[in-house]
């Protein structure tokens, strides 16, 4: 299948896909027997994919995580859950469309599933505020998590945000307080929490629904304290060093796993989830089922203690040699 949108670094793969398409059309029109040609191109595509996607830079992975055809939270929910009952609102201000959530079932087992939602066209992007939640979004997420705790239902969060919304209203309504509250409450929530970065994991905006027993990253996603663009702007004082910043931040799934800051990586279809969404949905579903199965076996005290212990271990400090 061909995408509508390709990155520059995918040019080789894109060209071959276009050749393949032409060969197929010719074949189907019955003008010529192109089956050998189709096979040749298909194997060339496999080789090109290997060489293009096996040495991606940090910045290229960031680009893939933002691909406009990548599956979003509601796509995953639609394909891996049944009986999704979407729940709205923070009970205080309004419903934040940048965060969606509700009860659902995965292969018959109940879950509370929550995630940031991006939009696909201009209108939707505005409605979803580009996946940048306001404080009421984080408060809605917390309300739903507390509901899940009350009914002893595990929580799954899908993270995909370029950051928490920066604006007058967000500040007036306490963006910092809302995120902080979620970090503290999630740390001691007495049901299993599995968090999956499905796209962008930008800073506190991502962490605000990201304190989990298991935090997994899909292969071509990023997670860090700041976007490469903003990092470039602040540390290099220019927007042009985003590639350098992306590498320096070690924000890819493989680096984050290596550094012990996430618990696992979910393999994506080659080139990214949008190349084969069905495959991505089943990989995510399988990962959720596997993690929840083992987490369900822990009693509440152990679960919470292990979660707090895991985050307490994060960080690299040097102890003084004299033990002072």
């Amino acid at each position: 299948m061909a995408n509508a949108f390709w990155f520059d670094f995918e040019k080789d793969v894109q060209d071959l896909h276009e050749q393949l398409e032409k060969a197929r059309v010719t074949h189907e029109q019955g003008k010529l027997d192109m089956s050998d040609m189709v096979q040749t191109i298909e194997s060339k595509i496999k080789e090109a994919q290997k060489s293009v996607y096996s040495h991606l830079t940090g910045w290229q992975k960031v680009q893939i995580s933002r691909h406009p055809e990548r599956p979003y939270t509601l796509d995953y929910i639609g394909h891996i859950c049944t009986d999704f009952v979407e729940l709205f609102g923070d009970r205080q201000i309004r419903d934040d469309k940048a965060i969606v959530g509700g009860f659902a079932k995965i292969d018959g087992k109940p879950v509370m599933i929550i995630g940031q939602q991006k939009g696909r066209n201009t209108k939707q992007r505005q409605l979803r505020n580009f996946g940048m939640p306001n404080p009421e979004g984080y408060r809605k997420a917390l309300r739903l998590m507390k509901l899940a705790e009350k009914f002893d239902v595990p929580v799954v969060t899908l993270i995909d945000t370029p950051g928490a919304s920066p604006g007058l209203e967000a500040e007036e309504r306490g963006q910092g307080e809302a995120i902080a509250r979620n970090l503290m409450e999630m740390a001691v929530l007495e049901v299993p929490i599995v968090c999956i970065i499905i796209g962008e994991g930008a800073s506190g905006g991502a962490l605000g629904i990201g304190v989990g027993d298991k935090v997994l990253m899909m292969e071509y996603t990023w997670y860090s304290v700041i976007s490469p663009e903003s990092c470039s702007s602040i540390l290099w004082r220019t927007w042009d060093k985003k590639e350098l910043a992306a590498d320096a931040l070690r924000l890819s799934s493989s680096d984050m796993f290596k550094n012990g800051l996430v618990d696992g990586i979910i393999k994506e279809p080659i080139g990214g989830a949008h190349h084969n969404p069905e495959e991505a949905y089943s990989a995510v579903k399988a990962a959720i089922k596997k993690e929840l199965k083992s987490l369900r076996e822990l009693d509440k005290e152990t679960l919470v203690a292990q979660r707090i212990d895991k985050f307490s271990q994060m960080g690299v400090v040097l102890e003084p040699e004299d033990g002072a």
């Binding site: 950051g163 920066p166 007036e172 902080a180 503290m184 409450e185 304290v225």
Partner: protein
């Protein structure tokens, strides 16, 4: 891309890529802050805001709060410890923890060098110091940030020292005071820095369960990931007057909305009005007000 700002732009004295102080410090011209001698009599200093001129000794006596306009000039951890603890006596813990460089981070200079320069320039080991002592006879644990150290940015050392101080407060049933003063996360520690938000918040959840009081004092400035974690999680969220407190920095918000911010936006007074602070307290009243509060909620006889 609009993500939250980490405040670095707002304050000229913390630009980590400012090559001027970098070079000057390396050549050893700057004096360590810690080594600064008390200003001798006969010297005068000017209020940074109203330009009132007072003898240096008066500034020290007033805790660097301007007697005419109430401007709260920035002070460091040592000054806070002295003004809070009885007879200025305290025990510092984990003073020797220093930063690793887990990512071998290099922007316009290596992070490892920046750390050394900041340590040399300030005489501090990192951007927070933790100590315990007594306030009007009641035991108190304090973690106080130092803005002079890379803009009070939060990296692994900041998170770890705060976490250990909270552990100490839980183990000894000691009320905890956090004094925040930070431009936000330390970008050179990337996601390690981000996870300090989760770490400190998780520890505060345990402190909360132990029913030990937590007071969060926000001072100028408190922004970014610090606001979005421990600074906003107090049983009592309080602030010095006119401090800048926010999640996104003013510059980022300005760029996002494309216009100037209303006067007083993200000030302590603004946060009080919007319901995010319990009260604003002048530095000169801090010790007394904390003692009063603790005398009501924390029975000294228990200890």
């Amino acid at each position: 891309m609009a993500t939250e700002d980490h405040g670095f732009d707002e304050f000229d004295d913390l630009n980590p890529s400012d090559s001027k102080w970098y070079v000057r410090t390396l050549s050893g011209i700057l004096t360590k802050t810690k080594d600064k001698k008390p200003t001798p009599d006969g010297l005068w200093e000017k209020c940074k805001r109203c330009k009132e001129v007072l003898p240096s000794k008066d500034w020290i006596d007033h805790l660097y709060v301007c007697p005419s306009c109430n401007y709260h000039d920035r002070i460091g951890s040592e000054a806070y410890f002295h003004l809070l603890f009885d007879n200025g006596k305290y025990t510092e813990i984990n003073a020797g923890l220093t930063s690793g460089d887990p990512l071998s981070f290099i922007d316009t200079a290596p992070y490892a060098d920046r750390i050394k320069v900041a340590q040399h320039k300030t005489g501090l080991t990192d951007a927070v110091r933790t100590a315990y002592g007594k306030i009007n006879g009641t035991p108190l644990g304090v973690a106080c940030m130092d803005f002079a150290f890379i803009g009070g940015s939060m990296g692994s050392v900041v998170g770890e020292k705060i976490a250990r101080m909270i552990d100490h407060c839980i183990a000894t049933q000691t009320p905890f005071l956090m004094i925040s003063k930070s431009g936000g996360a330390r970008m050179m520690e990337a996601a390690f820095s981000l996870m300090q938000m989760a770490k400190t918040s998780a520890k505060l959840a345990l402190l909360n369960k132990a029913k030990v009081p937590y007071i969060s004092l926000m001072t100028n400035p408190t922004t970014g990931g610090v606001t979005a974690s421990y600074a906003m999680l107090g049983d009592f969220n309080i602030a010095e007057p006119e401090a800048l407190i926010g999640f996104a920095g003013p510059r980022v918000i300005r760029e996002t909305i494309g216009k100037d911010l209303p006067k007083g936006f993200q000030s302590s007074e603004f946060l009080l009005d919007h319901g995010f602070l319990d009260f604003i307290v002048s530095r000169n009243d801090l010790r007394e007000k904390l003692s009063t509060l603790l005398s009501i909620i924390w029975n000294k006889k228990k200890h």
